[in-house]
Amino acid sequence: MNELSVNHLLGIKHLNVDDINLIFKTADHFKEVINRSIKKVPSLRDITIANLFFENSTRTKLSFELAEKRLSADVINFSSAQSSVKKGETLIDTVNNILSMKVDMVVLRHPNPGAAELLANNVNATIINAGDGANEHPTQALLDSYSIRERLDDLKNKNILIVGDISHSRVALSNIYALQLQGANVMVCGPKTLIPKYLHKLGVIVEHDFLKALKWCDVVNMLRLQNERMTDSFFPSVREYVQQYGLTLEILNSLDKEIYIMHPGPINRGVEISSDVADSKNSIILDQVENGVAIRMAIIYLLAQKKPLNK
């Protein structure tokens, strides 16, 4: 297979395993390109991409922008803080106004789940979901899987643990879909209040004992507490959370095997992960960031390919 089954990237749940393999294969080529002295290819020089960020972002926004520029696309950036959204404009109106400036593709981050899907159904442009509320963050999940596959070759029957605030995390949901699609076993771990009640119905193992979970896994993905999405008090104190679910070098050394450490960022050092673990040799956190650009280049390239010129 050499083309994606979808015209937009709205979530991992819309992809199949061939799509994921194609994205990874294409990302391999782009990873080689971005390590050359000239890191740019001219493929998308006739494409304009709008990055619409209705929520704060550092990594994802920079990574998308860099990926777009490496592909030679024209890029416009928009953030809701300085926009007419504050004056009451609807999402579809905002995007249609931007599209009348001849934009071909929209990268959207929005606090509302389903925002990307709404756009895909209502505007004439290719949509990439860069995170919609607590729903999905497909590019993060893809770069996470890609980073694991670089270390473990294959995800089939590998044990992947996701720890932390699962309820408010779009990274967790997209990762669960992506990992399961590739044949991995997925376990989530965290306080009962931060794990959705029906998560086991997705075929995920739920564990509340952090040490037991760590002993099971080959890779652990540590998530931060999504304080900005918490409307209630979910645990007694941050200190207590750190004591129960914070990953320290001492815990890591107590395991009888080596595991890889991941984190989608931003890291709260000393909370979900200690500094020495984040910077340890088993940490692949910076690989995730580097791979993010290659994965996003692959996705943008493959989606652009789905829309032939003059059609």
Partner: protein
């Protein structure tokens, strides 16, 4: 579909030997030269030439690698055919004499893309082009080979296929009509 064979195994063998000798004439010991096969079709031709240069003419310091031009093509989104990328090696071309190697030279667009692609690795001293087959009167760009195996005239609706030796057939070059 009828095949019109224009080169057989023996003829290809003689041509490859001549091309290797012409390369030696211009590049001597190859110490400042890199042979670059253009993916995917230049790969086998590169390997054959490298074998002859190393085994028959004792060139010990032969630098060679593969270059994929998919992301540098000018027909992205303009072609029904989906473009699929191949591997590119880490090429050291800075200050080197580069020889592009491809099986058939047709419109010249692949070579134009390769000229852009190779510069992403550095600034070569010069670039030459070697092709086994040169389709005359079919160029879209002002590009000509420096080393050519055989020059042929083929209609626009015909395709030139270079079939390298495998379990079923010997090396041969033939012409077929496009469907």
């Amino acid at each position: 579909m009828s095949k019109n064979i224009i080169l057989n195994k023996n003829e290809i063998g003689i041509i490859l030997n001549r091309l290797a000798c012409q390369l030696i004439e211009n590049h001597q010991d190859f110490s400042n030269t890199i042979l670059i096969g253009l993916q995917p079709n230049g790969k086998t031709l590169l390997n054959r030439l490298a074998q002859i240069l190393t085994n028959k003419y004792d060139i010990s310091e032969l630098n060679y690698g593969l270059l994929d031009i998919t992301f540098y093509r000018d027909d992205f989104r303009r072609n029904e055919k989906i473009l699929e990328a191949n591997t590119t090696d880490n090429l050291h071309v800075e200050g080197k004499n580069v020889v592009f190697i491809d099986d058939v030279l047709f419109t010249g667009r692949t070579i134009r893309a390769a000229l852009t692609a190779v510069e992403t690795f550095g600034r070569p001293n010069n670039i030459e082009l070697l092709t086994l087959i040169d389709r005359r009167f079919s160029r879209h760009l002002p590009i000509q080979p420096d080393y050519r195996g055989r020059q042929i005239d083929v209609y626009e609706n015909q395709k030139v296929i270079v079939d390298w030796n495998n379990d079923i057939v010997d090396d041969c070059v033939y012409i077929i009509n496009k469907l």
